[in-house]
């Protein structure tokens, strides 16, 4: 698959502190790429290097095949985690100013702003000062300013903070739509449910090193360990339990159900087939629940970081 952004062996130190250590990341075109990692891992430094705010000590970054250069700024839209707007400036004026800094002409910027303001139904804020708006309203303006110049690469650092669920959903849909329209999105967040929902690729950075990356589904496949959640309505519960515990690694499971049943998490050996387990269970009673346990992004995150 074609890569929009390629970082090769990027390292960066601040004095004694090594913020990034030989990090290589490839972001496929048209994907939503989750950049994950605990606080202080080096995500923000990496994002700042892509934005040419900081220069790497060594390593190279390519955007669309070209080494990163100053005029690439107009192809990147960046919504930083630490974000804000000039408080005493009017919304419209400010948006125009920021758009022009991204290389749009004034008339282009005006036309595009009108489109977005209508789309998000915030047209009547044009002459308001930022300090008159609520935090969520200001965040909407900030989002518009980030995507206005139709960048190839969008970088969102915790994009949903400050939004209520309704607006968070609205922004999520806008991000997905931008992706569908051809933009590539790098998405940095600690909210694993949105990673689960939106990202197709992820990279995990911990203590300045990349420790994991790839397609989310591939990673999940690699992390699954043949564990199944099982629910069984049976007459001879103790015999079944004893048998299962004897043959497999079994741990108690809790899932919601209306039946009064045996609930277990059962890990079967790698070469064994799930079908054998199913056929055994069906002879013992009524099988009400049989689900493969797929590790969540959250589980993978915690496990990898802990083992690192």
């Amino acid at each position: 698959m074609e890569k929009l952004l390629v970082a090769e062996n990027v390292s960066k130190s601040f004095g004694e502190f090594k913020a990034l250590n030989n990090v290589s990341i490839e972001v496929p075109k048209g994907s939503i790429f989750g950049l994950l990692g605990p606080n202080g891992a080096g995500k923000t430094t990496f994002i700042r290097i892509i934005n040419q705010i900081t220069m790497p000590d060594s390593g190279k970054v390519f955007l669309d095949g070209e080494p990163l250069q100053p005029n690439h700024i107009q192809h990147i839209g960046y919504l930083p985690e630490e974000r804000g707007l000039y408080k005493s400036m009017k919304v419209g004026e400010q948006a125009l100013y920021l758009a022009q800094l991204k290389g749009l002409s004034k008339s282009e910027a005006k036309a595009k702003l009108k489109y977005w303001f209508d789309r998000l139904e915030i047209g009547d804020w044009w002459d308001k000062k930022i300090q008159e708006l609520s935090k969520g309203m200001a965040q909407k303006i900030q989002f518009v300013v980030t995507v206005l110049h139709q960048p190839k690469l969008l970088i969102f650092d915790e994009p949903f903070s400050g939004f209520d669920p309704i607006n968070a959903n609205l922004i999520k849909d806008e991000i997905l739509k931008l992706r569908d329209d051809g933009a590539t999105v790098i998405f940095s967040t600690h909210r694993m449910e949105s990673v689960e929902e939106m990202c197709d690729h992820i990279a995990l950075i911990n203590k300045s090193n990349k420790i994991l990356d790839g397609k989310l589904l591939d990673i999940k496949r690699a992390y699954k360990n043949n564990t199944f959640e099982v629910g069984l309505v049976t007459q001879n519960a103790s015999a079944v339990s004893a048998h299962l515990k004897d043959k497999f690694t079994v741990s108690p499971a809790t899932f919601k159900t209306i039946n009064n049943e045996l609930q277990y998490k059962i890990q079967i050996p790698e070469n064994a087939s799930a079908n054998d387990l199913v056929s055994y269970l069906t002879t013992q009673g009524q099988l009400t629940h049989f689900v493969e346990v797929i590790p969540s992004a959250n589980d993978i995150f915690i496990e990898t970081v802990r083992n690192n």
Partner: protein, 436 residues
């Protein structure tokens, strides 16, 4: 429009449209004029009261020496004892009693004169009295030694040194005064400009940090451009404000006397008249002489160097102010960095107003007019007194070289500092930032 122009335009417009900026632009000249008018009015009030000094001259030698003026009246007391005169003066509420006892020995007499008053008398009054007595006593002593006072006076030589440079330019003491005014005004103007608008730049950097917009901006423009745009934009706003002040001051000082019937320049006129009298010269001729002196100043040199030193000195300090703004999180944290910044500036003004006045070409004056942190103020004060061009040029070159150094330094601090939140910067920390 390119980035730099956009930034300059935004900085300029937000400064100029700011309410407190507009209010200060219009209020400052009004306050200034108001204070001058008040001081003028108060000093008129102060002088309105006529002071009466009673003179009890038992010797009878000096009584005719004292000439009453508009606000000081000498009244002669006769055939009263000292006690009676004291009691009378105290009772009447007059300013004081001058008692001159009788004594044949003039020297002894001169030492035994007493002035009685309620409070300590003003030094000026005492000086006047002593002058009058000294004159008369001198004459009396000359007479006693059989000298003709009038002849002696005619024999006394009037010394009036003509000041001339080797190149043949004539100068005068008045000329020195005028040079001082020109140099002092230029130096002081720069000093004020740096403090007012340097602070403004610093605040605007802090504002971008606290409102957290900085990262959005510098993902679009290079920090150095933002820094330069900020400095230039704010400076233009400053020049606008200065121009408005000059204009308003001119208009107001023309209007106020008409409206209130008070003449704020009355004081100055009085002083000029006093000067004119001491020099035995008319006001008219002083003004003409002053005009000639002004024309003799190296005006072109002064203007060119004023611009160079003003720009260089201002930018030097402005970049440091911006660096401070980037290093801190709020204005209250700026104190530790402000002192080392203000010290050389204040030192420059002191050196300018004391050392340069005393000796414009002394070693201290020369050294300080080369040090880039003091040279803009000190050199501007020296130039009217005539500084060789090569010295001026060396100083300008040092200033601009240092300016490049401080901008580099400021840009480093700025680049790192604007992205640092919640970290209290120490000098040690700043030194580390330079290596990032």
């Amino acid at each position: 429009m390119n980035h730099l122009q956009l930034i300059i335009k935004r900085e300029y417009l937000t400064k100029v449209r700011n309410k407190s900026f507009i209010i200060m632009t219009f209020l400052s000249p009004i306050i200034m004029i108001g204070i001058f008018t008040l001081v003028g009015y108060l000093s008129q009030l102060n002088n309105d009261k006529v002071r009466v000094i009673n003179v009890l001259d038992e010797s009878g030698l000096f009584v005719s020496q004292f000439e009453s003026t508009d606000n000081l009246k000498y009244e002669r007391m006769e055939s009263l004892s000292l006690e009676q005169a004291k009691a009378k003066t105290e009772k009447s509420g007059d300013y004081g009693l001058l008692y001159i006892p009788e004594n044949d020995d003039i020297d002894a007499l001169a030492k035994s004169i007493t002035f009685y008053s309620e409070d300590s008398p003003s030094l000026g009054t005492i000086d006047d009295i002593e002058d009058a007595i000294r004159d008369k006593a001198n004459t009396l002593k000359l007479k006693a030694s059989n000298f003709d006072a009038a002849q002696i006076k005619s024999l006394r030589v009037q010394v009036d040194t003509q000041l001339e440079t080797f190149k043949g330019e004539e100068t005068s003491k008045l000329g020195s005064g005028i040079k001082l005014i020109f140099g002092g005004a230029a130096g002081y103007l720069l000093f004020m400009f740096i403090i007012i608008y340097g602070n403004m730049i610093m605040r605007s950097v802090i504002e971008e940090k606290t409102s957290r917009i900085i990262e959005v901006i510098i993902s679009s423009v290079k920090p150095i451009k933002l820094l330069l745009g900020k400095i230039i934009g704010t400076s233009l706003a400053g020049i606008t404000q200065f121009a408005a002040w000059v204009l308003l001051l001119g208009v107001l000082s023309a209007i106020i006397p008409l409206v209130f019937g008070i003449d704020p320049s009355a004081m100055q006129e009085q002083q000029l008249q006093a000067m004119a009298q001491t020099q035995n010269d008319g006001l008219q001729s002083i003004l003409t002489e002053a005009l000639i002196e002004v024309q003799k100043l190296p005006i072109a040199n002064l203007i060119v160097m004023f611009l160079l030193f003003f720009i260089g000195g201002y930018l030097l300090y402005a970049s440091l102010y911006a660096a401070i703004g980037a290093a801190v999180d709020s204005e209250t944290d700026t104190q530790q960095f402000m002192l080392p910044l203000l010290m050389p500036l204040i030192l420059a003004v002191y050196v300018g107003f004391f050392t340069v006045i005393d000796n414009p070409h002394g070693t201290v004056s020369q050294v300080f007019s080369y040090i880039p942190f003091t040279s803009p103020v000190v050199m501007l004060m020296r130039i009217p007194f005539g500084v060789p061009l090569w010295q001026q040029l060396i100083s300008v070159v040092i200033l601009f070289a240092t300016f490049i150094g401080t901008v580099w330094f400021a840009a480093k601090i700025y680049r790192v500092g604007i992205l640092m939140y919640g970290k209290k910067a120490s000098y040690k920390e700043l030194a580390k930032w330079l290596k990032y």
